[in-house]
Symmetry: C2
Subunit: 465 residues, 2 copies
């Protein structure tokens, strides 16, 4: 039997048992943001540690942090072989509004081959798959083809406030050759995807101060600068009418898309009509010269997230307001540096500041972009594992969003990161009726198992980033 046949046999045999076990994990309301669930966090951590132990992982520990604990475990007996570091999280989002759930968020239920529960897809279900993949190989072959380390945290849904410190403090313990994370989605039903890059984030708030108090627009209007108008001029100055950002040097360090990447995105067959329908617009808009996937995955943005100033109630108030403000964030791509971009934004604002107002710029938290090169063997290997199980070409994608902790892994440990997700965008992460398509649970178990063999085929040197 090939290893894939073994995995197939094993997972078929244990299907019901695994599902019942996962339901048990999902019944624990491990909501990291609510203090009344602090005890449940501990229960979930212990459940997971027991599960890792059963699977055959060793050196298990529940490592305390200043927040919820991190679970660590490893299996390091594949001498000379590469080491895979698996990251995931056992905490979940809150469940409000409760009345919109068809079955209780912590009462897992299978309907139409979908498992409904909070955390089913994000991320307990996917973490559980990694544990079971290890267990299957241990039971079927008595060992693993690679070394593995697991690090499962309990604070992903609240922004991983203590994980970076933990990684810094445990650099040796976490040393590996590739990081695998299953916490993202596939490209669509039946369409597996390997995500090899994420955008970074930076942002500023612009506060425009005009007169010291609101003025009567009749008595002063026309003679004193209007802060909203001044702000609008600044905001409008950030880009041209074709969607190109006009901040000096904004695109300087943007890594150009390779021909291979552009081809890979094109091959995904973007459905413009479906997207317009989904978001409810009559036309799409973005940087000229780029496709939608390129715009949202590989090009930086400057987005106004909020604007405020003056009177916003019903009807009319003829005020020349004292102040106005806007919140702006930029999604960044490799190799843009968040600090550099903020400097450029500030210079732009200074240059475009209208007369008669004072403009203050304050900074938000920043996150770096991350990319594992498209042609890195660990990325291409993941694609092959998917293809063997799903029997369709794998999509190679980047994510438009930002997962700061991924960039931290990339930066602190200096490893290639492979995002192998099994969720689907339609599975209501963070919303009522979260669910997980069980066909991806079934196939994903096989993909993960196969990936161990794929990675085992490389030397450590070949996997260097």
């Amino acid at each position: 039997m090939t290893h894939l046949e073994k995995l197939d046999h094993h997972f078929k045999e244990k299907r019901d048992e695994h599902l019942e076990q996962l339901k048990g994990f999902l019944r624990i309301p491990s909501i990291s943001s609510l203090s009344e669930h602090k005890k449940d966090m501990q229960v979930a951590a212990e459940w997971l540690m027991d599960s890792c132990k059963t699977a055959g992982l060793e050196n298990l520990s529940i490592d305390e942090t200043d927040g919820h604990p991190v679970i660590y475990g490893d299996w390091l007996h594949a001498e000379g072989k590469p080491t895979i570091l698996v990251y995931g999280h056992y905490d979940v989002q809150p469940v409000d509004p409760l009345n919109l759930w068809v079955s209780g968020p912590f009462e897992p239920e299978v309907r139409d081959n979908k498992l409904f529960a909070r955390g089913a897809s994000d991320d307990k279900g996917q973490v559980f798959m990694h544990v079971k993949a290890v267990e299957a190989l241990m039971q079927e072959t008595g060992s693993l083809p690679v070394n593995v380390k697991f690090i499962i945290e309990g604070e992903e849904e609240i922004g991983s406030p203590h994980l970076e410190k933990y990684i810094e403090a445990n650099k040796e313990k976490l040393a590996a050759d590739v990081i695998v994370i299953s916490d993202t989605g596939m490209q669509g039903p039946g369409q597996p995807a390997v995500c090899y890059g994420l955008r970074g984030l930076t942002g500023v708030q612009i506060d425009v101060q005009g007169p010291k108090g609101d003025l009567h627009s009749g008595l002063y209007g026309g003679g004193v600068q209007n802060p909203i108008h001044a702000l609008a001029e600044i905001l409008a100055s950030f880009r041209d009418q074709e969607g190109t950002i006009t901040v000096d040097g904004f695109y300087d360090n943007v890594r150009p898309l390779s021909d291979e990447e552009r081809e890979a995105y094109k091959a995904l067959g973007f459905n413009e009509e479906a997207l317009k329908e989904e978001v409810g617009v009559t036309e799409l808009f973005g940087e000229k010269g780029f496709t939608h996937f390129e715009r949202t995955w590989a090009r930086p943005t400057l987005e106004v997230n909020g604007v405020f100033g003056g009177f916003s109630g019903e009807g009319i108030k003829t005020v020349l307001p004292a102040e106005a403000g806007a919140k702006i964030t930029c999604r960044l791509v490799p190799d843009q540096d968040p600090d550099e971009i903020v400097k450029k934004l500030k210079a732009h604002i200074e240059k475009h500041k209208p007369v008669g107002v004072t403009v203050t710029v304050s900074e938000f938290d920043k996150g770096k972009p991350f990319i594992t090169p498209f042609d890195h063997p660990a990325i291409q290997a993941a694609g092959r594992s998917y293809e063997k199980v799903y029997n369709v070409p794998t999509a190679y994608t980047r994510g438009g969003g930002s997962i700061p902790i991924v960039a931290a892994f990339d930066e602190i440990l200096g490893l290639p990161v492979v995002l192998m997700g099994f969720g689907l965008d339609t599975e209501n992460f963070h919303a009522p009726n979260e669910h997980f398509h069980l066909e991806n649970f079934d196939q994903g178990l096989r993909v993960i198992g196969d990936y161990y063999y794929e990675i085992a085929g490389f030397t450590k040197d070949e996997l260097k980033k």
Copy 2:
């Protein structure tokens, strides 16, 4: 004795008596906006009617409207002479916050030759002066040199919702040759002003709709139009960097300032430093090529009164918002038409609408601008009356604000309107510790009395607008 000597003698003699009477009027809490003062409105109306009767006015009536009543009275025995229609109001603003008043709002008190009470200046004190001017002339000369009609309303502070209908319905009864209103301010202490124009008002709300719901700026940012950014582009497009409004045809019907007007404004000696200090800005800003008085009195404006969209709480929310909006008002000058301007605004917005969003424009109430020509005899006569009493050159001004009911008088009755105010900007209209400088009470009585003689010197034809 000249008529001015007679007035002088009369008002000196009666000073204490008049002040006590005015205090009696001010003690009535005639707050038009609060239903619990409905009875006080009636008491104030009756007090005023009695006072008019004592003065010698005839045909007195308390005319019911759908709101608070209008008081009418006249004296029409100056055959062949012009008729002055005097307009004022007996209602007052609310008094909150009460704890900031040094003496009670309805407990009139003289301190430092200022009379403190709600309505002292706006407008009971000034209405009272007109009544006493009639009384003085009747007592000292047995008649008036002109015909007069009084119309004193009780809803000015709530926007005169029923007066226009009343004027329409009583066009014959209110027919006159000139309208005099004392409900505005002087140019400064010791500096009388005749206001011969007010700006009109029109406005629109711009609502920009992007996607049907807020989108994740990571997943969609860069690929879908941002409604705030689109709105900012529209707002910024309304004017150039020198403060000129760029809406096609916006200035088409603006009546140019005459050389005489520009000279008159220049003679007022604008104090730029004082204004900057007052409003708290480091530099003024307005349409290039015009002085501050010209900008705020005789040039139209386009002011953003409010803007809203997306996230405005503390910190960051990486949203690509579904919608954004702004409220805009234009102050209009003769001979701009509010409806025409709204059409032009709509055409401008349509032309500058960015792709990927839907823009809706809704209209606010409109008010026409008004002007009595600077060189109209009724205007110049008012200036002479001030000069005889104050012994300084009168300022000829326009108001940057809008008093829609003035435009209604102008439009329905087709008469020159003369705004002869005796208040000062520093007298806390609508605020705690409203007061009236008694030197302007004293001098104003003489100015009003003299003005009757000035108007008596013209034929009805000469006063035609």
